[in-house]
């Protein structure tokens, strides 16, 4: 039984805020095997971004992390600076949400692509050659000419492809994708997503994708981690869109997607406002907005437990699934 590639054990992260130190994610506990593609789903404030970034320790100055984040058995949090640098890029690559902001606007795309290779000792010609080849692979035409251009001369979709190329250049085993298509228009979204999926399969990569879009998650990923207010509420490899989830929040999210195939009189939304880890109440963080809330829910935080092959953090999960809950 091989150890999982990525392992989060009792991870909690606190940040310094205007009101003092606050917890943004608490008691994270999950594993990712090599070759898996996992979606990290949640609304803004759920802590999904900081969870993904913690994998390469890309955290704000004031962040303090408890617990262990293990990559191939080694704790990322204990790594020295050099080790961390060797981790970022060649082992784990990250794709950012807004390519126009994430790529230095005053340096050429060629500089951007070859930068990492150059610090590894690769010569300029060689690095540019590899960059050109990869640009071709991701569908950027006239790659050689493109190397001399600046980011503002690229469209959003093209620039995201450049970002993907830059991540691939380092040849990582894991890709973290932070809402890679949110900043793009719908048609481009589909293209870029397809590209990402293709490459993942081709290179047998492990993927952790952050998204708020359940359908996107279902299309590309085999497993979904649903986060709310800084904790994981459901960890499932079922096809949530077809089968539904076990946690009330997951189902509420599914319900609230606007449907194109049916007529809706009213758009369904979850009552109340999404809460971040900082403002999470005691007990189950979703309880205040939950249709199935009982007194015990607010008493103490429900642990993530295994139910029919899915981990879920809800004390009433069986009842709800069986239809016997109010």
């Amino acid at each position: 039984m091989t150890a999982p590639l990525i392992q989060y054990e009792d991870v909690s992260i606190t940040l310094s805020t205007a009101e003092g130190r606050g917890t943004v994610v608490r008691d994270l506990d999950f594993q990712i095997e090599a070759g898996e593609s996992v979606a990290l789903v949640g609304e803004s404030g759920s802590g999904k971004t900081i969870t993904a970034r913690s994998m390469i320790r890309l955290l704000p100055e004031s962040a303090r992390v408890q617990g262990q984040i293990k990559f191939e058995g080694k704790d990322v949090l204990q790594m020295g600076r050099k080790e961390l640098r060797d981790l970022r890029g060649p082992r784990i690559g990250m794709i950012f949400q807004d390519p126009k902001a994430a790529i230095n606007p005053v340096r050429t795309v060629g500089d951007f692509l070859t930068e990492r290779l150059r610090t590894q000792g690769v010569g300029r010609k060689e690095a540019e050659g590899r960059a050109t080849a990869l640009l071709d692979r991701v569908g950027v035409d006239r790659a050689e000419k493109r190397l001399r251009q600046y980011p503002f001369e690229f469209s959003g979709g093209l620039l995201q492809r450049v970002m993907i190329a830059s991540v691939l250049l380092a040849d990582p085993e894991v890709i973290l994708a932070d809402e890679p298509t949110t900043a793009l228009d719908v048609t481009t979204q589909a293209e870029v997503m397809a590209l990402l999926d293709e490459i993942r399969k081709e290179r047998d990569l492990t993927l952790l994708m952050i998204t708020h879009d359940l359908e996107l998650a279902a299309a590309v990923c085999g497993r979904t981690l649903v986060m709310y207010a800084g904790t994981i509420v459901e960890d499932s490899d079922a096809d949530l869109i077809d089968v539904g989830g076990l946690h009330p929040y997951t189902n509420a999210l599914l319900e609230s997607r606007p449907r194109l195939d049916q007529k809706q009189d009213e758009l369904v939304s979850i009552p109340g406002r999404a809460v971040s880890g900082l403002d999470a109440p005691a007990g189950c963080p979703f309880a205040p907005r939950c249709a199935f809330r009982i007194d015990q829910c607010e008493a103490e935080r429900p642990p993530l437990r295994l139910l029919d092959g899915t981990r879920v953090a809800c004390i009433r999960a069986e009842e709800i699934r069986g239809g016997s809950a109010k």
Binding site: L87, G89, F96, T119, Y150
Partner: protein, 320 residues
Amino acid sequence: MKLGASMKGAALVMARRLPGLLLTLLVSSIFIFSAMYLAPGNPVSALTGGRQVSPAAEKALEAEYHLNDSFVSQYLHWLGGAVHGDFGTSYVARGQSVGSQIVDRLPTTLLLLAMASLAVFIFGVLLGSIAAIRGRRTESVITTVTAVGMGIPSFVAGSFLISFFAVRLGWFPVFGPGEGLPDQIYHLILPTIALALATLAYVAQVSRVAIGNELNRDHVDTAYARGMGGGWVIRKHVLRNAAIPITTVCGVTIAFLITGTAVVEQVFQLNGIGSLLIDSVISKDLPMVQGICFVAVIAIVLINLVVDGLYGVLDPRVRR
């Protein structure tokens, strides 16, 4: 090939700015030229500083400045001369050529300006980056220090420096520009500090804000996420990008330094153009004042042009 593109970009930006700068030059030169008409009294009295003038001398002045021609033609004569460095002769200085006086006293001022500019930009940016990169404590200390520094005029700084370092400690000479380059530099150390102090503080503030903003940008995150080392990221991404807003204040800063030489040269009794300007104002030597102001305007305009070119090199986005 990339250098070529940058140069081309710089040239493009400079060409775009040129008409505006030429207009500035035109308007200011007209204003400077009109000084003798704006002054109370007639042009001749303005040129002679109100002194008694023999009829022959008066005739000579009228001829030299074409005072009986139309305004436009007078201006053009003056401008034509000015462009060649010929600003006429100074009646007050007994017929000495204004241009030659300026050239004589130029070196001291240029050296002072060079030293002050280096001090301002090197130490200013350094201080600003330290403030932006280090923790909150360092930042607030530097912010407070620069806030005070910005309020210290050059003549106050100069007075203090002289009284403490020259008179009391005897480490530096009090007055004079010195002979030979090393000695001149030695003599100019205190004047440089006096001139550069407030401006350095300002540049430090600007740099701190610019670098602080840049540190928070997404592309810096990306660089770290790819495993680029701290030093590389700071140099190639943070400082490189922050250079753009810092360059924006370059022109204003150097113009300020140029003007400041007038004050500092008085404090330290340096025989540069600054003190020549003040002496001429006091002795009512209008042609000299006009000449010096014109040279100052040209210098400022040229510097603005160069700064714009630099901007074009640093920021490819303005090239299109």
